[in-house]
């Protein structure tokens, strides 16, 4: 039975590793400027984690095989180095990993969060509410009009609660159901939660950030490849959570300008 245990464990370990080695379910290709650092972090972690995983399962299997069913008069052996050696090994192994992963991880995190958006980043506001994302562009005046929650009206499609009659800054705001951005241009995304907690996640962009009601949060990113990508909500927000999504369109500058003009005309 010990041999069966060992073989099963080794089989499970190898079977678990195969989809990883074959890249069967990898993250999608990255389309952001900060993504490569995150991806590098992930691969390094995967190598270390993978090696540790395989080593632990295989050694466990081997020891169970070797040291069961021994004769009654067999002697109890002591692992070379005893507890001290293992404690040192744990400190050194894990300590080294901590240093490597921790230090590099800080760089990746900092590149996303510790740099403010550049001066010419394009501001776009996104509002998350049960169960849709809506986006707002400031229009030619470059200013967002104030939000009036009491004037939100789904029926009349005033999802942001804008008062375009009385607020001059709101008059040229462009509200869309899609997030279109020009490629290679930094985007400054202002995040507003209408009702409960939500989250903004675009896998390819390596971006995820919660919307927190009551807090003005923002992120910034630069998309590098044109295409159509899914934005999904990742913070449980109610029964429509599974269906709360929008599309990110990364367009050439020219296509983006045309798109924005079209959207402005639809307001």
């Amino acid at each position: 039975m010990a041999k069966l245990f060992a073989l099963t464990l080794i089989a499970i370990a190898i079977a678990s590793a195969i989809p990883i080695l074959m890249h069967t379910w990898d993250p999608p290709a990255d389309i952001s400027t900060h993504g490569p650092l995150i991806d590098k972090q992930m691969s390094e972690t995967m190598v270390e984690a993978g090696l540790l995983f395989l080593a632990a399962q295989i050694i466990l299997a081997i020891f169970v095989w070797k040291f069961s069913g021994r004769r009654k008069d067999a002697k109890i052996g002591r692992f070379p180095g005893g507890a001290t050696g293992l404690v040192l090994a744990a400190f050194i192994l894990v300590g080294a990993e901590l240093l490597v992963l921790g230090v590099f991880g800080t760089k990746a995190w900092a590149s996303v969060y510790f740099n403010p958006p550049s001066a010419n980043a394009m501001p776009i506001q996104v509002q998350a509410g049960q169960f849709a994302f809506y986006f707002r562009y400031p229009g030619p005046d470059g200013k967002f009009g104030p939000l009036h929650p009491d004037q939100i009206n789904e029926a009349s499609q005033n999802v942001f609660g804008l008062d375009q009659t009385n607020d001059p800054d709101s008059k040229d705001d462009i509200v869309t159901a899609e997030l279109a951005v020009p490629a290679n241009r930094e985007i400054y995304l202002l995040m507003h939660a209408k009702d409960v907690g939500h989250s903004f996640y675009v896998r390819e962009l390596r971006v995820q950030q919660d919307f927190v009601p009551g807090l003005d949060l923002s992120i910034h990113f630069t998309a590098t490849k044109t295409g159509r990508y899914e934005i999904v909500c990742t913070q449980l927000c109610g029964l429509g959570h599974y269906n709360m999504k929008a599309y990110l369109e990364v367009l050439s500058q020219e296509d983006f300008d045309n798109w924005l003009k079209q959207q402005a005309a639809l307001q």
Partner: protein, 592 residues
Amino acid sequence: MHDMSAHAAGQHHAPPQSFIRKHIFSLDHKVIGKQYYDLGLLAVLTGMVLSWLMRIHLAWPKFGIPGVGWLSKAGAPGGVITPEYYLSLMTMHGTLMVFFVLTNVPFAGFGNYFLPIQIGAEDMAFPRFNMMSFWTTFVAFLVLVSAFFVGGGPPLSGWTAYAPLSAVGAVAGPGQGAGQILWATAIGLFCIGQLLGSLNFITTTLDLRTKGMTLMRMPISTWAWFITSCMGLTAFAVLLPACVLLILDHVAGTSFFIPSNLVISDQLQPHSGGATLLWQHLFWFFGHPEVYIAIVPGIGIVSHILITNMRRPLLSHKVIIGSLGAISFLSYMVYGHHMFLSGMNPFTALVFSFPTLVITIPATIIVLIWIGSLYGSKLRINSASLFALGFISMFVSGGISGFFLAQPSIDIYLHATYFVVGHFHMVMGVAAIFGMFAGTYFWFPKMFGRMMNETLGKIHFWLTLVGTYCIFMPFHYLGFAGNVRRYSAFVNDYLQPLLPVHKFITIAALCTGAAQLIFLYNLIYSRFKGAPAPQNPWEGTSLEWTVPSPPPFDNFGGKHPVVYHDPYQYGVESSTGDYVMQDSPEQVKAVG
């Protein structure tokens, strides 16, 4: 001298006579331990069935599951689960499993039964508080389950119940009114039960050890229960006021967690000024120690069982205990790793990430000591030791995925995906459960005076080991692909190619679930028809093996054991064989 202590306040009590005193409102820690175990069994069966419903729905969304329509006409018309009911089932699954299974069985169940015996006491320090703690927990269970039967059904905000979704009331979704209030009440009651229990464990361990039972002579399982109760005392004491504040936001119009200007269904909500993140801070300050409360007893039980079956002590008793202490201490410093993307100051993410990575060190030490102790041992294979070894494998698997999540930059991609779900199911949903299985197979003979069927136990083990890997390893792959969690259906474009994986998982889950019937059958059959168990079937050294199977009412028959030895004197030459029991005056030379 005026001796006022003729009757100690509740510590010593006469043997019960009536049926009610013996089996229902019992002061005996052994009965209370079994009651916790049985309640945990009821909860895990319920939770498992809920998980089946969830998995079937995810794999075959249009399939009308027979019986569910009876449970809720609105939630599952014709047996087809609605999106809101899926989330309600998910919420109840998580709540039942984390609270009523993982906190109850390894800690309150086995701990109540065996901690007093392992330290040589005749009962817990406060038997009346002990009885109250179980019955409070039981009432909490009833209150929780009653949420199924109120209008709107159970809440849909998950076991984590994030505000404002959990705080604004029924306007946010079905189940968010009465259901959420019942949930918060149930959890609040649960906290009180746990606090009373922790009070007992700590006081008993410190004060009621028998002569010669120094702290370092306590078995590792006893240490694990003691350390867990220290965490329980502090963590549940924080969750309780949080639940009270949540209930007040519902019923009293306060705004602890609800900020201003929320608009739900075009209605401006009448709350203002509350702090959404406050709930997350309070919850996770409890929540992270809670998951260690779920695993530390398992580590203790598995160590105890492995040592007995390896016929040698671990390479270092002190290092294991120190590591358990370190893990528990660090567990209070890491809770922000659940909130990396929550809008907290990004600098705090690094502050929480560091101890999260550091906690790997004591966890690694424990695993290395286990594996290193296997070297040169004389391992015996039986159901208990198999599950203990399976625990090691699962703990490694689940712990390693933690590596990824501990780093905020990687969490940007993996947060709220199935990777997280895979991680915590591996450690809590499998490893901790393996600990419970191991404990059951190991201690059943002592508790019931009968042996469990070994063949059935081994079959149960193989099916469960392979089955749980088949269920939960793929969760990690789904996570790498970016499959978001807590979705009741997979409608996104990028999720379509992953549907076959979900079907595979569902089938594995149903098969593995069915395999648990073998365990259930074994458990019940052996209660009545199992072979009579000897006093010390595993040739163990700790004090539970010095008393009859099952032990008498006061454990040691009025005698008070005297302890002469460390808990794990194996690999020696003695009159009993290769081991000497803790209460034996025989002096032996240790071998190896």
